[in-house]
Symmetry: C2
Subunit: 202 residues, 2 copies
């Protein structure tokens, strides 16, 4: 009658359930903050029983770690995609900064990352995990400068400018938690770009 049985393979079921949980984990961290992100809330957000959650992720720490791993992968992908999108246009430092800046504006990835980084200060396991993610992220941002045609000396300076930009943007993201004013952010970004331009155009 009504029940058309479409058997779902176990492997796929597992994959779906994990994805829903990881997704919900980031959602809850984003909405409630790191401190108030509890497993019951995550399960409710995901529409999953707590039994299912504990089956796939026995401890809360394992769930959070998996979510952050997944997050890092998605973020990396996002950066790469954004680079590929601007394949045609000229490669300038400004274009790179614009790309990083826009990627940084994505709440879901950046805000959860900041929450995790701050929490990692007092959590050794989390710290080790994020240290790896962070090194990868910074390195890939620096490497983006390789496409700019530049002599080795200025290339190093450009890469340093990019790295500094990353940290500055992170500071602005934290700032955003306190004042969320798009215009203010935009102005500051423009000032930053002007400063970098002046510095590198000697």
């Amino acid at each position: 009658m009504a029940s058309e049985k479409t058997p779902v393979p176990n492997e796929e079921r597992t994959e779906r359930m994990r994805a829903r949980l990881l997704d919900a984990t980031l959602d809850v961290i984003l909405k409630e903050g790191w401190a108030k992100a509890s497993t019951p809330k995550i399960c409710k957000q995901a529409g999953v029983s707590r039994g299912a959650q504990t089956h796939h992720f026995p401890t809360k720490a394992s769930l959070l770690a998996a979510a952050l791993d997944w997050r890092a992968g998605q973020y990396e992908k996002k950066i790469v995609e954004r680079l590929a999108a601007g394949e045609g246009q000229e490669r300038t430092l400004r274009a790179l900064l614009d790309g990083i800046w826009e990627a940084m504006l994505d709440d879901r990835f950046i805000q959860t990352g900041m929450e995790a980084m701050v929490a990692a200060r007092t959590d050794p396991e989390l710290r080790a995990l994020l240290a790896r993610h962070d090194m990868d992220a910074v390195r890939s941002m620096r490497d983006m400068a390789d496409d700019i045609g530049a002599d080795p000396l200025t290339l190093a300076r450009v890469k340093d400018a990019i790295e500094l930009s990353v940290y500055l943007f992170r500071g602005l993201v934290v700032q955003r938690g306190v004042h969320n004013d798009p215009k203010f952010k935009r102005d500051l970004y423009d000032k930053w770009c002007a400063l970098v331009d002046d510095a590198l155009a000697d």
Copy 2:
């Protein structure tokens, strides 16, 4: 005999108790992180009963708010003192940045501030409080540039550079929770100063 009774005035008793609690609050946030800073832990750290804590601070939120207010005041004082200390030497942008940078290295004030700022994103009351603190802090940092003899046009640029520095340093503080490498930090600071020098020396 043995018990020389020196009655302590209520006013002073209150002041002492409050100070111990506020101090312990920052200690616990620093050591355990925002999420795990509970009132029992704070009381234990302060060597105070929970009854006393609830007497002076009926809710946890009121305790945290008071501690952050106190922190902001201390931080302001610290900056002013540092400025006064270098009264004799010449006022340059570099000297100002050095001062801000050193003040930023103080765990007790900065790390607790970062924890609070991130938590404030999902806590409207905390957010309002920190928004005020932050505006005051940034403004006072900008005002520090007034002592530098400079024409109005470059003065504005110097102030912008200071503000950008503040956000950059905050990004580095967050970074510090993940990698705490003094040399790395120092190198990055030097690169930053070089960049600013290049930008403003046109």
